[in-house]
């Protein structure tokens, strides 16, 4: 074998070995970065979907939650809940209670796996409630069922959070034309027309509560 061929083969072998070593390192690095991304995504998801937290400063009060009453109506039910003094936190807590703690399954007005993705209160007293897709996709289609769902949200907020004046419902951060084909979500729903704008209202989106095992009694 000519000398130049041997030199070429050795050179190629060295290049292949270097390539394999580099490729392995590259793969390990990509895997590590990918893992970091997944972790970050998962943390962000948990942060967004985390239930409102109960803090030691929450006061146990009698809250009024509107659940189903028979096949056709909703009605107020008095429950004891530790509620925040902060209107945004308080709103999230009563809505979470509405979703998660109906006295019986038949009294559920909102799909059980509905998530509260965000809740904001604007300085003018407008409450903006952002729900996950489940609210739209799992609420039974129909004027009666959709109206009861929206009314249960509106009346629960109006009964427990002072100074809210009107409600805007978003689905996954977007304005939806209807809830499930019937009830118009492009406008606002009256909460308490006579309420003044809240001095404590915040135009800044409420930061999601940190993931905690707190089974907020909502």
């Amino acid at each position: 074998m000519p000398r130049w061929v041997k030199i070429t083969l050795v050179g190629l072998a060295v290049a292949v070995i270097i390539g394999l070593v580099s490729f392995g390192g590259l793969r390990r690095r990509m895997k590590r970065l990918s893992g970091q991304d997944e972790t970050a995504d998962e943390l962000a998801r948990h942060a967004v979907l985390a239930p409102p937290i109960s803090t030691p400063t929450d006061a146990e009060v009698t809250a009024t939650i509107y659940w189903g009453a028979g096949a056709d109506k909703i009605a107020p039910v008095q429950v004891q809940l530790p509620l925040s003094a902060d209107p945004v936190g308080r709103s999230r807590q009563v809505l979470q209670a509405l979703i998660a703690n109906p006295p019986t399954p038949g009294q559920q007005t909102l799909p059980a796996d509905t998530e509260i993705l965000g809740f904001y209160i604007l300085p003018d007293g407008t409450a903006v409630a952002d729900f996950s897709d489940a609210l739209a996709s799992e609420t039974p289609s129909g004027i009666l069922s959709e109206e009861n769902a929206v009314d249960s949200i509106a009346q629960t907020l109006a009964s427990n959070v002072p100074n809210l004046r009107r409600l805007k419902i978003l689905i996954h951060g977007q304005e939806a034309e209807t809830l499930a084909g019937h009830v118009d979500l492009t406008g606002f729903f009256d909460l308490n027309s006579a309420a003044p704008p809240s001095p404590n209202a915040s135009a800044v989106p409420a930061m999601p509560a940190p993931a905690a095992p707190s089974p907020a009694p909502h």
């Binding site: 028979g70 300085p123 129909g142 004027i143 009666l144 069922s145 009107r166 019937h182 003044p196």
Partner: protein, 239 residues
């Protein structure tokens, strides 16, 4: 104007036995059209096949007429079996007119109402607002008849933000039967004649345009509007 809700790819409410709201609403609409026609009304339908006109197209069909009455037909997923409700559009309180409680300082914007657009036109999405009172009275009139025929139904009309009605420039109601979950299609369709009778009775009681068999509508660019006689509500046009 009779509107059979949903249609085409939009099934509406679906029952456990495969009952689709879109099919029952169309069957009901056809039966009610026949009954109202027999009683001397002239009826136009927003759809007469398995099609799905957009909400605004349905409203536009009604808004061609100066003196229509609009009735959309629905079948619920829920509710006590065999009950029927008449809904009128719930208008949210115009925010500019909300007056804060006395003695409380506010940081809201001035509460001066927004001036109306020139020329008497109203925004398309607010067309129903001018007919709020008439729609309410019409729903009450129809619901009174429904309550007599369908035990357990409410005594008066119900307000709800029904999307169908928002842009209709006419007295407009939605009628919803309960439900695809508790009754089969034939049972629901069998309710049609009584629903038609309550509608006819409600129209005569409400009679915004007079009695059936009156003179022709003032501006029907499409023949056969559900309007017994002229002189409809003189609201501004819509755009």
């Amino acid at each position: 104007m009779i509107d059979a809700a949903h249609g085409g790819v939009d099934n509406g409410a679906r029952g456990p036995n495969g009952v689709n709201e879109k099919d029952v609403s169309l069957a009901l609409a056809r039966g009610i059209r026949a009954e109202l026609t027999r009683r001397g009304f002239r009826v136009v339908m927003t759809r007469d096949a398995d099609t799905d006109p957009a909400f605004d197209d349905r409203a536009a069909t009604a808004n061609q007429f100066a003196d229509a009455i609009y009735i959309s037909l629905h079948v619920a997923s829920t509710g006590t079996a065999g009950t029927v409700r008449a809904y009128f559009y719930r208008i949210a309180t115009p925010f500019a007119t909300i007056v804060p409680a006395a003695g409380v300082e506010t940081n809201s914007q001035p509460t001066t109402p927004t001036p109306s657009p020139p020329g008497g036109l109203v925004p398309w999405r607010e067309a129903q607002a001018a007919f709020d009172d008439g729609s309410h009275r019409f729903a009450d009139a129809v619901q009174a008849g429904l309550a007599q025929k369908f035990s357990g139904s409410p005594a008066t009309g119900t307000s709800a933000a029904v999307r169908d009605l928002r842009s209709v420039a006419a007295p407009a109601i939605s009628i919803e039967l309960s439900s695809v979950a508790s009754l089969n299609a034939s049972s629901l369709e069998a309710m049609g004649p009584s629903v038609a009778s309550a509608i006819a009775q409600g129209i005569l009681e409400f009679h915004p345009f007079g009695m059936p068999g009156g003179s022709a509508a003032t501006s029907p660019s499409v023949p056969g509007i559900l309007v017994p006689s002229p002189a409809g509500p003189a609201g501004g046009g819509t755009h």
